[in-house]
């Protein structure tokens, strides 16, 4: 029942998820992550290109998941935040490190981590998590 374990899905999104690659509309400069292939503002007039995000971001809101869905039981408690990327898009992601250190508006940087291990097939899903950036960058 853990649909996240679908191999085709994982494969389709791996480049985007591993490398923070989204899209940008050349026409109006709006950046999209996750990638969109139709600009929400310009629609068919918008010209979409691939776009790599810098990874600079800050925490808009966060929570600590203590009751997990199937597939994530062994990782509780874990922190999830909504991150506002410097280029304008917002994204959900897990936050690594000490839960007590997480605060609203705090700068974060992306790190490459295991997201979870598929219990049945043993497939390990990697992706980006977010780490509290050090003092200088705050």
């Amino acid at each position: 029942m853990v649909h996240n374990s679908s191999v085709p899905l994982y494969w389709r999104l791996r480049k985007s998820k591993y490398n923070l690659i989204g899209t940008r509309c050349k026409t109006c400069s709006t950046a999209y992550y996750p990638a969109r292939h139709l600009c929400q503002k310009c629609r068919r007039k918008g010209e979409i290109e691939e776009f790599k995000f810098s990874g600079q971001g800050k925490i808009l809101s966060y929570t600590i998941i203590r009751s997990a869905p199937a597939g994530f039981e062994r990782y509780t408690p874990y922190a999830v935040a909504i991150i506002e990327l410097a280029e304008g898009a917002t994204i959900s992601g897990q936050v690594t490190g000490k839960i007590e250190d997480i605060k609203i508006d705090q700068p974060v940087i992306p790190v490459f981590r295991k997201i979870y291990e598929d219990g049945s097939g043993g497939l390990i899903h990697y992706g980006i998590k977010w780490e509290i950036a050090d003092g200088q960058r705050a």
Binding site: H3, P34, T63, I65, A68, I82, S92, H125
Partner: protein, 389 residues
């Protein structure tokens, strides 16, 4: 223009029905509505069924035909509608539009969900089907987690307190005391909410609506037939709107744009305002959603929902009684059934025949049903007077 009225309603006990199937529950709800309307099942010309996830909960799709089959309504057209947690209201709206189209004069709208055949963590995963599977479910987000993200932001932006959130659950539990079909019929206190286990900070167990099995149904008729019934309750306004499926794609984490758009339409059609509508059923899947909904529906200004609750204005004897029969928190939340259950409760309150649950002098009521974290929002306003023409 055809006008449409609700002339019958009913819902099963909302509970963990280990010994009953989706089909049993749906049939019971249908029979309750038919009996309440004093009609014959044969008079029903079409069926609309709201259900979110029977495919994953019990391996069964094709819920429209199944409900028609079990209720002995074959060969009438049967349509299953899905918009996650707003599936019930969606079925209701499509039934209403079915009559407005001139195609039918009497239809049934039903909603159902059977959630307890799978284990808890599977239910949590299934519910995330309402969110963004690729970008929210995939990182371990849960539904309560998403609402927790909204709650924290709301607390920071507007000073909403943990206590105010708790008061939402306290009010809902109190209102359910006399609701025989509610899953929880006992009072709770703010203190008890604050001491219940954290599920996704800052939300706790008693901020959350439960996992529930249940079904609800209503009978709708055109103005042509409404005269045959004693207490038709008219649909005065109906609005529906969409927003991004992923919470992180929204313009705001503390405002449901879709609710505002849907409500605006329903208010305009009905000629009513947030001030003049008598009572409301709002979507309290988590306490924060009731506070945000109170704001988005215009009962108070954005950010003042917590204070509105704290001031007792949502109580049964308050300025704007909300969830007068217990809400999702205390009645339970069988996903697809909830939107229809809300209409049932508004219908009874407007009819004025709701016994111990009756709020005095209700002429109009609003039902607000939200799918996912606000990607679908559907608002209906019902009242005792036929729409002015």
């Amino acid at each position: 223009m055809v006008d449409v009225a609700v002339v019958g309603c009913g819902y099963t006990k909302f509970d963990e029905h280990w010994n009953r199937s989706l089909r049993d529950l749906s049939t019971e709800a249908g029979m309750l509505a038919i009996k309440d309307a004093s009609i014959d099942g044969k008079d029903i010309q079409a069926l609309y069924v709201g259900n979110m996830s029977a495919g994953r909960f019990i391996g069964q799709e094709h819920l429209g035909a199944l409900a028609a089959d079990q209720a002995g309504l074959i060969p009438i057209p049967a349509t299953r509608c899905e918009a996650a947690c707003a599936s019930g209201a969606l079925a209701f709206r499509k039934a209403y539009m079915g009559i407005k189209s001139g195609e039918y004069d009497m239809v049934m709208a039903a909603g159902s969900e059977k959630m307890t055949d799978v284990k808890g963590t599977d239910a949590v995963a299934t519910l995330m089907g309402a969110g963004d599977q690729e970008w929210e479910s995939a990182i371990g987000l849960t539904f309560v987690g998403l609402y927790a993200l909204m709650a924290r932001r709301h607390m920071i932006q507007y000073g909403t307190t943990r206590e105010q959130l708790a008061m939402v659950s306290v009010n809902n539990h109190r209102n359910a005391l006399h609701n025989e079909r509610a899953q929880f019929r006992y009072e709770i206190t703010v203190d008890k909410v604050l001491k219940s286990p954290l599920i996704a900070d800052p939300l706790r167990m008693l901020d959350c609506s439960p996992i529930t099995d249940g079904a609800a149904a209503v009978v709708l008729v055109s103005d042509k037939l409404a005269g045959r019934f004693q207490n038709p309750v008219w649909i005065l306004g109906s609005g529906q709107a969409s927003d991004t499926v992923a919470l992180h794609d929204r313009q705001s984490l503390t405002e449901a744009m879709a609710t505002r758009v849907a409500a605006k339409k329903a208010y305009e059609q009905s000629g009513l305002t947030p001030q003049t509508v008598d009572i409301a059923e709002v979507h309290d899947c988590f306490s924060i959603n009731e506070i945000m909904s109170i704001e988005d529906l215009g009962f108070c200004r954005k950010g003042e929902g917590g204070k509105f609750v704290e001031a007792g204005k949502i109580g049964r004897d308050g300025e704007k009684p909300v969830n007068t029969t217990g809400g999702l928190k205390a009645i339970g939340h069988p996903i697809g059934a909830t939107g229809i259950r809300q209409v049932c409760d508004i219908t009874r309150q407007v009819r004025g025949d709701y016994g111990k649950l009756q709020v005095h002098g209700v002429k109009t009521g609003l039902a607000s049903n939200i799918g996912g974290t606000g990607a679908t929002s559907i608002v209906h306003i019902l009242g005792s007077e036929r729409p002015g023409r």
